[in-house]
């Protein structure tokens, strides 16, 4: 940058305003700049904590394509009829107005790591000192033979909340009496490990009232799944005989779909279905791959203590897209990682104090009315990974009062985390 009178005065003001800070690594352009891509549990949280805790010392920009963001967590409860669709929708007005975050509704399509800039689909370019990527997940091409994104209207994934969720619910409601709802479950690792099985529970809840002779067919490439004993106990208690779970021993790992014919082929055997929810294998959101910070498996390896990528210390990856160690891919985990990253980034850019990283996760699931279960753990940062230190899980055979309290707790948590994300 050419030194002229204006930017000289600007820099002098910036220095005197931050004299108490031990170091200022603002580069040559005034206030340090952080660009956050993705406005979900990781991105909205990191943007809010950076803006709030730096008290204006960091210039925070949040890039998120949608103006109305729908949370994936609790979207199954909408499918089951326990929530209104509008109740899982959020906007970014408070982050912009109350926290001074520059919210841009656009797609990030390029990252120049040498120039430290992000390119937007709308044509803009954003310079950064630190870049935070929290783009959620994308699907691996060819993961389920016969399915690609062009088939998502016929066979929705509904694994990014929004119109896909509404479509799946509409298809469920239009299902003929006695029809079959099929789900192709994803292989590990994937977003929200209990998610597919909570969804099966919510679909069963809908069918029990509206279509009691309807059937659910779950085709699963995994021999076991999250909270399995709890879900299977609940399915027997509430939906006996309705749900057929087919694991890899019986062809759950050899599935092909034919969206035009509404057929699934299980180990060579053709079955006609009425609704088919295909949840393919996943990888990090595309921008992480574009930035060149992902590994062969499609995820972005990060340092546990800072969530900075192993490929580039100026790029942090949060939540589902990161390969961090023991934490599941969940909204709670992304929110937890975002606070650690915000602290580390503030420390690096403004010299604020950095405390040891701590992480937590809890995943609640609903099986039927007032029958909630949960699993959770605490974690710490080691040199190698985010490592689990302690954990708990709901027990089979718990009494109804405890299950009801667990469900009510999840409703409280939803309000808590969404105010922590969106202000």
């Amino acid at each position: 940058m050419k030194l002229n009178r204006r930017n000289f005065i600007g820099s002098a003001a910036a220095v005197s305003a931050t004299l108490s800070a031990p170091m200022v690594m603002a580069g040559s352009h005034g206030k340090p700049k952080v660009v956050v891509i993705g406005g979900g549990a990781g991105g909205a949280t990191v943007a809010r904590y950076l803006a709030k805790d730096s008290k204006g010392a960091i210039d925070v920009t949040l890039v998120e394509p949608t103006r109305n963001y729908y949370t994936c967590f609790f979207s199954n409860l909408y499918i089951g009829g326990f929530r209104e669709f509008s109740s899982i929708g959020h906007t970014y007005g408070k982050l912009a107005a109350e926290y001074g975050i520059n919210v841009i509704h656009d797609w990030a399509i390029g990252v120049d790591r040498d120039a430290k800039t992000v390119t937007l689909a709308g044509g803009g370019t954003l310079p950064y000192d630190r870049l935070v990527l929290s783009p959620g997940i994308d699907f691996k091409e060819g993961a389920v033979p016969g399915w690609d994104v062009s088939a998502q209207q016929k066979m929705p994934h509904a694994y990014k909340a929004g119109s896909q969720t509404q479509l799946l619910k509409a298809q469920l409601e239009a299902m003929p009496q006695g029809g079959t709802f099929a789900m192709v479950a994803p292989p590990n690792p994937f977003r929200c490990p209990p998610g597919p099985y909570e969804r099966v529970s919510m679909v069963a809840h809908h069918l029990k009232t509206n279509n009691p002779t309807g059937k659910i067919l779950v085709l699963d490439p995994k021999p076991k799944f999250s909270k399995q004993a709890l879900f299977q106990e609940g399915w027997t208690n509430h939906y006996d005989g309705m749900i057929d779970w087919v694991g890899p021993d019986f062809g759950g790992d050899k599935v092909e779909v034919r969206p035009d014919a509404m057929e699934v082929v299980i180990d060579g055997e053709v079955t006609k279905v009425d609704v088919c929810n295909v949840i393919p294998a996943m990888k990090a959101g595309k921008i992480a791959e574009i930035a060149g910070v992902t590994n062969e498996a499609g995820w972005a390896p990060v340092h546990a203590a800072t969530m900075a990528t192993k490929a580039d210390e100026n790029i942090h990856v949060l939540g589902d897209s990161s390969a961090q160690g023991d934490m599941p891919k969940s909204g709670f985990a992304a929110n937890s990682q975002a606070k650690v990253a915000a602290m580390a980034i503030r420390g690096a850019l403004t010299g604020s104090k950095v405390f040891p990283a701590k992480f937590t996760n809890t995943c609640w699931s609903l099986i039927d009315t007032d029958d909630g279960i949960k699993v959770g753990a605490s974690y710490e940062a080691t040199d190698e990974k985010i490592a689990k230190t302690d954990g708990f899980i709901s027990k089979t055979g718990e009494d109804a009062a405890l299950r009801k309290a667990t469900y009510e707790e999840s409703v409280g948590w939803y309000d808590g985390i969404t105010s922590d994300m969106f202000g």
Partner: protein
């Protein structure tokens, strides 16, 4: 909107006025002392009882709602008091049965006593600490920190609220900082001692919530003190 609430509240109060004294002023105070154990981790009563998580309950009968000096009530409770709600057998019976049905945004995290005898008995117990028959409470206050005893050295720790603020980012993934408490209790503006006692009760696995046992389990006594110091004052 406010006006509407006002009218509804006034109607509720008018209802109480008409029934004057409730039908159940005949509870068993001895049994009520036992029922009161459900209240005593938050509410103190007796000689010298102070405000804790909840306000002290001496001279409760005929007390206007939300009127104890120095206790931080919810806005809902303050509004009810301003609208003329006074605690008597009828209003207390309704409140104790389901607190949120009477004061929709009360900070009292209590599901309520569904059994009418339990309510009558606990009111009979509390009646002993009100005017006539007992002007001045003589019983010793219910024990501080009833559900767990904590080493006095731990209670004496002065927490660093700044450190507490950093640590609080883990709490607010579930507990809302503004004190809203649907499904998950409010932890905002608790007296530090109650906060510390509750957290150590989880840490020592005397209180049984698995998430809280895990969260408290890895916090040091200094960290708990820091959180207590932060949450005591937050938002003030």
């Amino acid at each position: 909107m406010n006006g509407m609430k006002h009218i509804i509240m006034s109607a509720v109060v008018a209802c109480f006025a008409q029934t004057a004294v409730a039908e159940r002023a005949d509870g068993d105070a001895e049994r009520g002392e036992n029922v009161y154990k459900k209240c005593s981790s938050c509410h103190k009563v007796g000689d010298g009882a102070r405000n804790r998580v909840g306000p002290q309950l001496n001279l409760l009968f005929q007390r206007p709602a939300g009127s104890i000096e120095g206790y931080k009530y919810s806005n809902s409770m303050l509004r009810a008091g301003a609208d003329g709600l006074v605690w008597d057998y009828t209003s207390l019976d309704t409140y104790l049965e389901n607190p949120k049905s009477l004061i929709s945004k009360t900070r009292m995290n209590f599901r309520g006593l569904k059994d009418a005898d339990d309510r009558a008995d606990v009111m009979a117990y509390l009646r002993q600490f009100s005017d006539n028959p007992a002007n001045i409470p003589e019983a010793s206050p219910t024990f501080v920190g009833t559900d767990h005893s904590v080493d006095p050295e731990i209670l004496a720790l002065q927490g660093d609220p700044e450190y507490g603020e950093y640590l609080s980012s883990e709490c607010v993934s579930c507990h809302q900082i503004d004190g809203a408490d649907t499904g998950i209790p409010s932890i905002t503006n608790w007296p530090t001692e109650d906060f510390v006692v509750a957290m150590h009760a989880y840490k020592d696995e005397k209180r049984i919530h698995p998430v809280m046992q895990m969260m408290a389990g890895r916090l040091s006594a200094e960290e708990i003190a820091g959180l207590a110091a932060y949450f005591e004052k937050v938002g003030e």
